[in-house]
Amino acid sequence: MESNIEVTGLRKRFGAVTALDGMTFTVAAGKITGFVGPNGAGKSTTMRVILGLDAADEGRVLIGGQPYRALRRPLRHVGALLDAAALQPSRTGRDHLLWLAHSQGLTAKRVDAVAGQVGLGAAARRRAGGYSLGMRQRLGIAAALLGEPRVLLLDEPFNGLDPDGIVWIRDLLASLAADGRAVLVSSHLMSELQGVADHLVVAGRGRVVADASVADLIAAASGDRVLLRTAARPEAMTVLAEAGATVAVTGRDTLTVAGLAAERVVALLTAHAVPFAEVAGHRATLEEAYMELTRDAVEFRADGAR
């Protein structure tokens, strides 16, 4: 089967609250797609709908062209980490993996292999109730990897991990995507996904606010603006405006130029012998791009200001 996820027009209400309001996006194979947005943006609800746990009022989700509930032995197609703490504490980590394995027709051999892969080691035979958050997260990842799925869904996998654990998950995700798997990783912190995600789906108020590659998002937020420092401000403004740029004064000797590339600005100023001290491309961080996109979508801030 194809390894991708197609989410189309999901709508869902919980009483008076609209959780999903036309959520639509695609998760492609061979890439890590980051699923970001403030708390309450509908990320977890979307993941539950993808997995057939919650029913959407409208819209549909296809995994490799099939609805989740139609999958036979679904963990062999889709691996999911929703809430790593959702375990019965008296069962050992290994036994938790064992019942999951049995539900997919897999054996204890696969359980031991995957427990080793995530570094659970001897802890696998201890009761899961005594696990640290990091250990539970590893157990949850093991459960997601159990059926060697082509599609992975991880809800906030970095939560509660120490720096070693974060590096481990980043490397693991990269290797999974390199194998051609479709990987969807949600997070409410953009910084966690910087350097991890290839593609971003930004959610806000139950719908997609932005759906673009990380490079495009940063370019869009940067807005092709060029920062110019010059003592000859009026001359520079005339030259650049004649070339079609929009120029704004941002300080005593600084200008922000939009609509021209930095190289072109330098060429124009040099040709007209206008002196300048500095020309720099303004480059937004992923965090800035995200803040810009989700400004209207943050519910808590608006509520808190009342």
Partner: protein, 258 residues
């Protein structure tokens, strides 16, 4: 269905509480049956006790352990959120419930058979010393005797059906405490009402529809014509309760978000 059965079997088998609950079912059945026997005397030929029912009294206590085991089999997953892992791995929810019911029923039946056999054995040892002798009209209890076998086998089935009833209720209710409350209410409220009401017509009706009173009619071996409901008809009433509870739980399981 085979995969669901295997998974649910592994799940229940690897839960620490299961072993204890099963042991409690067997031990409580025997212990309270023996205690009831030891506390009763038959002084004459007309002492009017049902020795078989007396020997199987423990079932009324051990059903509480059955209820706890059955309720926790599903609410233990809702309480921790593990139910989502279950339905992610096995999206056919009715099949999951059916598999849970089968595994639970099997284990309960084994524990119940052990408890019932122990109770009959204890009665053989204790009752003759309490005046339940052939002279007073009480031959030694034997499973070769038709009504005794029916009462004993029926008691094991009774506990199994109670497990299914409780699983169905717990699936609908989802919360451990609430489910145990509903289940114990369902079982013990009817007997209390029956005792509180003086009108014999209402009493008979309540006995006929009460899961516990009707179900326990399977234990009666004397004065059968005076009972409000026959032994197998009574177990049929309990079966109807169990089927209705499971159907209701299964329907809600399909309709609700996990």
């Amino acid at each position: 269905m085979k995969l669901e059965l295997h998974a649910e079997w592994t799940k229940l088998r690897t839960l620490a509480g299961t072993c204890w609950a099963l042991a409690a079912i067997a031990v409580l059945t025997v212990a309270f049956g023996a205690a009831a026997g030891a506390a009763t005397t038959c002084a004459s030929a007309r002492c009017n006790h049902d020795a078989v029912k007396l020997a199987l009294t423990g079932v009324q206590v051990s059903q509480a352990a059955v209820a706890v085991l059955a309720v926790l089999a599903i609410t233990g997953e809702y309480g921790t959120g593990m139910i989502r892992a279950t339905f992610t791995a096995m999206p056919r929810r009715s099949a999951v419930l059916a598999a849970k019911a089968a595994v639970l029923a099997g284990l309960t039946l084994v524990a119940a058979v052990v408890g019932v056999l122990g109770s009959v054995l204890a009665a053989r040892l204790i009752l003759p010393g309490r005046g339940f002798t052939p002279e007073h009209g009480y031959p030694l209890l034997s499973l070769a005797d038709g009504p005794v076998l029916r009462a004993a086998a029926g008691s094991a089935l009774y506990l199994t059906l109670i497990a299914l009833l409780c699983l169905g209720v717990a699936t609908a209710v989802r919360d451990s405490a609430a489910a145990v409350g509903v289940v114990l209410g369902l079982l013990y409220l009817f007997p209390i009402l029956i005792r509180a009401i003086s009108d014999p017509g209402w009493q008979r009706l309540l006995v006929r529809i009460s899961p516990m009173n009707a179900g326990l009619a399977i234990q009666a071996t004397t004065n059968l014509d005076l009972q409000p409901i026959g032994p197998w008809a009574g177990l049929g009433v309990l079966t109807a309760w169990a089927v209705a509870a499971l159907a209701c739980g299964g329907l809600l399981l399909r309709l609700r978000d996990a």
